[in-house]
């Protein structure tokens, strides 16, 4: 349970960190909260030659409202996000998902940027960011770019991050500006609290003044090699007035057509598929109920 030898750098600024990542290329790994990387290193499943510790960089940890966006610095700890009033108000889906992320001790150390960059297929935040149409800012020594969450996760532990790039910020758009009302809901099932999810879903829906669904963004996790956007499910909801039957059919479509879960000792593919359908139905019911009761924002 000891890692292989590695070089260690602790830059105090973003530019210094980016320069180190550029110098060392694929040999270097940024260290954020270390709640996945350090265990992997201790098991010697990960053996980076160089660690670039981001914990001494103070300007990567913040939560701010900027225009219609909620902006969260990549090194912001899960626990800070969980307890933030700005997050609770502007991104209730994130707030609702936070307690499902491992345990308090892990959330105290783990970071939002680390979780997204790690891209575990059973992680909560990647799916939440897809459901919210969040944008992930990545930087390297040359400059920065924003990647829509839906394009960021490319496979098992794989992202759109290039060598030398670092996740620096997550921008979450606030509620719909077109006057429609938004509701979100999060559901997850695991055998014990804090375990990797057997299946989970993050849902965001919007309804117009007549109660018709104008938008449905449903992202499932734990049921594929990456978070899956349930587009078949969304097509059955958008343009329709949500009803018990309509939601039931859409949730069934998500489980049938939008995912292809794998089997392991924890759960069979068939069980995961069933679970995904049930959780999607529950999440949609709650999300629509919330959209209907949401006060129209000033």
């Amino acid at each position: 349970m000891k890692p292989a030898a590695f070089d260690y750098h602790r830059p105090t600024s973003r530019s210094e960190a980016l320069a180190l990542l550029a110098d060392h290329g694929g040999d270097a790994k940024p260290l954020a909260g270390g709640q996945s990387l350090i265990p992997a290193m201790n098991f010697r499943l990960a053996m980076p030659a160089v660690l670039v510790d981001l914990n001494a960089i103070t300007d990567l940890s913040y939560i701010t409202r900027q225009g219609s966006d909620l902006r969260i610095g990549a090194m912001t700890r899960h626990r800070a996000v969980e307890r933030s009033e700005d997050v609770r108000v502007a991104a209730p889906l994130v707030h609702e998902a936070m307690p499902f992320i491992a345990h308090v001790a892990i959330r105290t150390r783990g970071t939002i940027g680390g979780s997204l960059a790690h891209a575990d297929p059973a992680a909560e935040l990647p799916a939440v960011m897809i459901a919210l149409d969040a944008r992930i800012r990545v930087e390297n020594v040359q400059g920065s770019r924003e990647v829509p969450a839906a394009d960021f996760f490319t496979g098992l532990f794989s992202t759109a991050l290039e060598s030398g790039e670092l996740v620096t910020e997550i921008a979450i758009p606030a509620a719909q500006a077109d006057g429609s009302r938004t509701g979100t809901a999060f559901e997850e099932f695991s055998r014990r609290h804090g375990d990797f999810a057997l299946a989970g879903v993050a849902a965001r829906v919007a309804v117009d003044g007549s109660g018709r669904c104008t938008l449905a963004r449903i992202a499932l996790f734990g049921v594929g090699d990456r978070p899956m956007l349930a587009s078949t499910c969304a097509r059955l909801l958008e343009g329709q007035t949500p009803s018990t039957d309509n939601i039931r059919a859409a949730a069934a479509a998500a489980a049938r057509d939008d995912i292809d879960p794998t089997s392991d000792i924890h759960a069979s593919s068939r069980y995961r598929r069933h679970l995904a359908g049930v959780l999607t139905r529950r999440a949609l019911e709650r999300a629509f109920a919330r959209a209907h009761t949401e006060a129209v924002r000033p």
Binding site: L45, A119, F157, D225, T262
Partner: protein
């Protein structure tokens, strides 16, 4: 881990059969293959390096033994991989059939046991990795097949 499915190759059965038995082609198609040689009749030996995202590549020494061969429609394989982080052991069957458009439909089924440290830590990921490698390998074989067909026509 049970990996099974079908795959449509864009070329005739005899060519697909030949590709599936050519160590040079297989070495290029199978992700992470460092070496692959024909060690005896129906016996292939090689070394593979499997890496998943940030995880450092795990090296495996692999022996694949073919059996039950009925050219050009069926063969079975015994797969035996050993590495520092664990082992993979199991069997697979491959069936080839003509399709209506001059292509070939491959039907495959496998049952592979994974053990050791990799299974203890990464059990929930094993099937995803298997699927990913299978897809990459089949797509690469199909690309090679297309190249050969164009070169031949």
């Amino acid at each position: 881990m049970n990996l099974s499915g079908t795959f449509a190759f864009a070329g005739p059965r005899a060519t697909v059969w030949a590709l599936l038995h050519d160590p040079t082609v297989l070495a290029k198609a199978l992700p992470g293959t460092k070496t692959l040689t024909l060690a005896g009749p129906g016996r292939y030996e090689g070394a593979m390096k499997v890496s998943i995202g940030p995880l450092t590549a795990a090296e495996f020494a692999v022996v694949v033994t073919l059996s039950d061969e009925t050219e050009p429609s069926h063969f079975a394989m015994q797969i035996d991989g050993k590495g520092g982080v664990g082992f993979a052991r199991g069997g697979a069957t491959v069936d080839l059939a003509d399709d209506a458009n001059g292509g070939t439909v491959m039907t495959y089924a496998s049952d592979i046991q994974i053990g050791g440290r990799i299974a203890a830590v990464g059990q929930r990921l094993v099937e995803s990795v298997g699927r990913m490698m299978m897809k990459q390998a089949l797509d690469a074989l199909n690309a090679e097949l297309r190249t050969r067909m164009q070169a031949g026509s």
